[in-house]
């Protein structure tokens, strides 16, 4: 069965620090990849997505992610985090343009002011 792994469950950073959150998936076929964010008390919203083309994708609020097919990875990055980035981040994968989106376990990010 397909799985999505987010290795960091909790991350604590100071403002202006750089961020990288890991995401690995277990399937070698065609995938569509997503990062979602959930701010405290809010619903999940899309940060960015990759379907094809340039493996470096840029999303909202200065986030970007790089699809590395050989490593089955889609890590999320931000050069300089802000306190307002405190949230839970979820990586998700769809196989072969199917319907079912499989989520990773999430990473809770806390940014200290």
């Amino acid at each position: 069965a397909q799985s999505v792994s987010q290795h960091n469950h909790h991350v604590i950073l100071s403002e202006a620090a750089s961020l990288e959150l890991g995401c690995n998936y277990s399937y070698g076929g065609t995938v569509n990849l997503f990062w979602y964010v959930q701010y405290p008390g809010q619903h999940l919203q899309l940060l960015l997505k990759y379907f094809s083309g340039d493996p470096l994708v840029k999303g909202i609020k200065g986030f970007e992610a790089e699809f590395i097919k050989s490593k089955f990875s889609f890590n999320l990055r931000k050069p300089s985090v802000q306190w307002s980035d405190t949230a839970e981040y979820f990586c998700a994968v769809i196989l072969n343009a199917g319907n079912m989106l499989t989520f990773g376990g999430g990473t809770r990010l806390m940014v200290k002011p």
Binding site: V4, Q6, H9, N32, F34, Y36, Q42, H43, L44, Q45, L46, K49, F51, F90, A92, I94, A97, N99, M100, L101, T102, F103, G104, G105, G106
Partner: protein
């Protein structure tokens, strides 16, 4: 803007009670989903529906059923609630061309 509305933000039920969670979307999406969200486990798919009266089991369908009588509405039913069903339940609908899921604000269910 796409809007996905879940009928109840917070519910408290007793073991054995029947629970209905309702979800409505306003963008004419064909695909709708029910997930549960638990700390450290992320989101796990319970059921999804790809059209009216069509449904498919997700990863954890046991103890749940669903109903999709109208395109805009997707209901999750717990026939006999148990304490291990205490969780946050998230409904989503999917935009066909982009694949993006749009989520509701969630329904936090506590089963005593």
């Amino acid at each position: 803007d796409v809007k996905v509305t879940q009928s109840s933000r917070y519910l408290v039920k007793r073991t054995g009670e029947k629970v209905f969670l309702e979800c409505v979307q306003d963008m004419d999406h064909e695909n709708m989903f029910w997930y549960r969200q638990d700390p450290g486990l992320g989101l796990r798919l319970i059921y999804f529906s790809y059209d009216v009266k069509m449904k498919e089991k997700g990863d954890i369908p046991e103890g749940y059923s669903v109903s999709r009588e109208k395109k805009e509405r997707f209901s999750l039913i717990l026939e006999s609630a148990s304490t291990n069903q205490t969780s946050m339940y998230l409904c989503a609908s999917r935009q066909r061309d982009t694949g993006e899921l749009f989520f509701g604000e969630g329904s936090r269910l506590t089963v005593l």
